[in-house]
Symmetry: C2
Subunit: 385 residues, 2 copies
């Protein structure tokens, strides 16, 4: 049976065409706003103009240049501005990296300790945060409707997750039209990311949580159906809207209540990004299929259910297990996302480094805590074999 749980998600989602104009109503009237964004794509796709229009007459300071896999080093510059300028609201405009980075900024501005990195590692507790809102331009991470953030540190090749209910966005604007100009590979990465978020919460062992399982299956089926459409025709509003909402639902906490969760794929993937700079969504595709194969006995019940309900496969249990893994590989590959880490030049040396780091930190991953550093090594060796 699924476990007791507490569920609460206060984020106000404002979804649809032209909804950036709603910003004016959502933002506190007298707030001094720090507008955060990334590498400048919002200047090309018209989003910046729409946001500025909605912010007319307000006190706004801008902070651009938050990179993919947002770094502590960059974000601390925004924190400094935030402190100096007495910012009282953050508005993140961009994809998951900008949103995640802005969550860190929100926690770090009011933080009074010396070393804000401790907010990421969990050594310091987040006691308060500047409120933040978001305009999402890349469906992928789910950051727009959860309280998680993943922050990297260049200096030490670290990539760490943090989370706190104080970091829920107050609101998130999701306008599918803002995503029309995304490069194909980013859309593919986003689909891979969202798909894997669901799998982390689903591909464990059965606890007969009917609603949670079917929600997960619904989201997988939606992503599978919508992927070829939205890749082929980026301005198909319907396909893009379904993708965008699916990616949000994939990690807003709802399908994961009370059920075992894995997240080993993400932990391992973060290391591949930390050492090789591989796009987040792409790292996941190089890990999950091999993890599924190595853990196929432990995940057998769910692999069979997934094969039947998501992929409509028929056959013996062994055939279903194998089919489940193969379909997962085929799906990632259909997005143009490789399922081998060797495609990015990852070799034995990197694997050794990752295994060693996990050993040093005594890390045990997975829903049963049985993915030891050596098992991580096996998974990654399979990914470069």
């Amino acid at each position: 049976m699924f476990n007791n749980f507490v569920y609460q998600n206060p984020v106000k989602v404002i979804f649809g065409k032209g909804q950036i104009a709603q910003l004016d109503k959502q933002l506190p009237k007298e707030a001094k706003i720090l507008l955060t964004y990334g590498g400048g794509s919002i200047f090309k796709n018209g989003v910046y103009e729409q946001v500025k229009q909605a912010l007319k007459g307000r006190q706004v300071i801008e902070f651009g240049g938050i990179e993919a896999n947002p770094t502590y080093e960059t974000l601390m510059k925004a924190v400094e501005i935030g402190k100096k300028e007495n910012i009282d609201f953050l508005l993140a405009v961009g994809g998951g990296s900008v949103l995640d980075g802005t969550k860190f900024i929100a926690a770090a501005i009011p933080y009074e300790g010396d070393d804000a990195w401790q907010l990421v590692t969990g050594k310091a507790r987040i006691k308060t945060a500047i409120p933040l809102g978001a305009v999402l331009t890349l469906p992928a991470t789910g950051s727009e409707m959860n309280f998680f953030a993943v922050i990297s540190r260049k200096e030490t090749h670290q990539k760490k997750g943090m989370g706190n209910p104080l970091l829920y966005p107050v609101f998130s604007v999701l306008d599918p039209e803002t995503t029309y100009s995304l490069p194909q590979h980013q859309v593919a990465n986003g689909i891979a990311d969202a798909f894997t978020h669901v799998m982390e919460q689903y591909m464990t062992y059965p606890v007969n949580a009917e609603i949670q399982d079917r929600m997960a299956e619904s989201t997988l089926q939606t992503l599978i159906a919508v992927a070829p459409k939205t890749l082929e025709n980026p301005t198909d509003y319907e396909a893009r809207a379904n993708f965008m909402w699916a990616a949000t639902v994939a990690l807003n906490g709802f399908m994961g209540v009370g059920v075992p969760q894995d997240w080993a794929t993400h932990e391992i993937g973060h290391e591949l990004t930390a050492f090789h700079g591989i796009d987040h969504g792409r790292t996941l595709a190089t890990v999950l299929p091999h993890l599924m194969r190595i853990k196929k006995d432990e995940k057998r019940g769910k692999l069979i259910q997934y094969a039947q309900r998501v992929w409509n496969l028929h056959g013996t249990d062994d055939e279903l297990v194998e089919g489940a893994i193969q379909k997962t590989i085929d799906f990632y590959e259909s997005l143009g996302v490789p399922t081998k880490a060797s495609a990015y030049g990852v070799g034995h040396e990197t694997i050794e480094k990752i295994v060693q780091r996990f050993k040093d930190n005594n890390v045990k991953l997975g829903e049963r805590g049985d993915i030891t550093p050596d098992v991580v090594g096996e998974i990654l060796e399979m990914s470069i074999a």
Copy 2:
């Protein structure tokens, strides 16, 4: 394509065994609490004891006797106590009727107008409300995670829905064990109610809202699978927990974002309760199948999808439409819930009164507004034929 939407649901759900003990942490320390409940079942099933234990050392005033289909007349007595005693938190312990009634009390205590019934009819606006929490003991209405309430008025045979975001419970405790002692017919009513809530949001016309449709289908499939189990074995925790969570999800707003919704079955059902006192869940079963039949051309696309995805039917489109209606009838009947209003003695006279009332108020129901009073008459005539 599905419409633009705004979604926000701040309710904190505390789900599982033994969770009533969490009340102490959830309630504001110094609050003067009005504890509301129904006909006294909470004294027999141990819930009252658990609640009192959790409330130890607090200022609590009790108000019992909120009836099924809670009446304005009864609730105004609680409002009077609330005003006189300066109550600042309401704790509803019971099923949907107690929760709905308590939402009205929450709005009416701070209301300064002469006629609190206007809060129900919408003639007066709800500007503020006393915060409320809930301990749910009957899965059915979804009131524990939404801001709606349905209130009856004896004097005028009226039953009306009201809603306002100020009426979201701050928290709701859902312990499946509190439902073990429910009479079978109440469990059956609850299943019928939750099932129909989903149908109201789903059985309209397709707008290719993949997540919303699949969420609806997931919830229907869960209810269908769990119904015989939980009716046969009321103390099967797993079945009861899946039912309880499904009933909450069925009406927490999530599956209904941006999609057309019907709600004619509820509007008509409310009239059957108002005139004949039929249990709410039971009225729905006497309306929906006939509404589906009369509106089968308008609802054709969704009837076919429902037949295929929820009931795994195969055949021609016409066979699927017919199968969809028949399966719905069979499902209600399998719960011991009749699908004919004649089973309750409803006759032509009542139908005429209902049609007349809808005519007087110029009511047009359904997702297209094409269920005129005369169509309501047709539906109800089919239900007594």
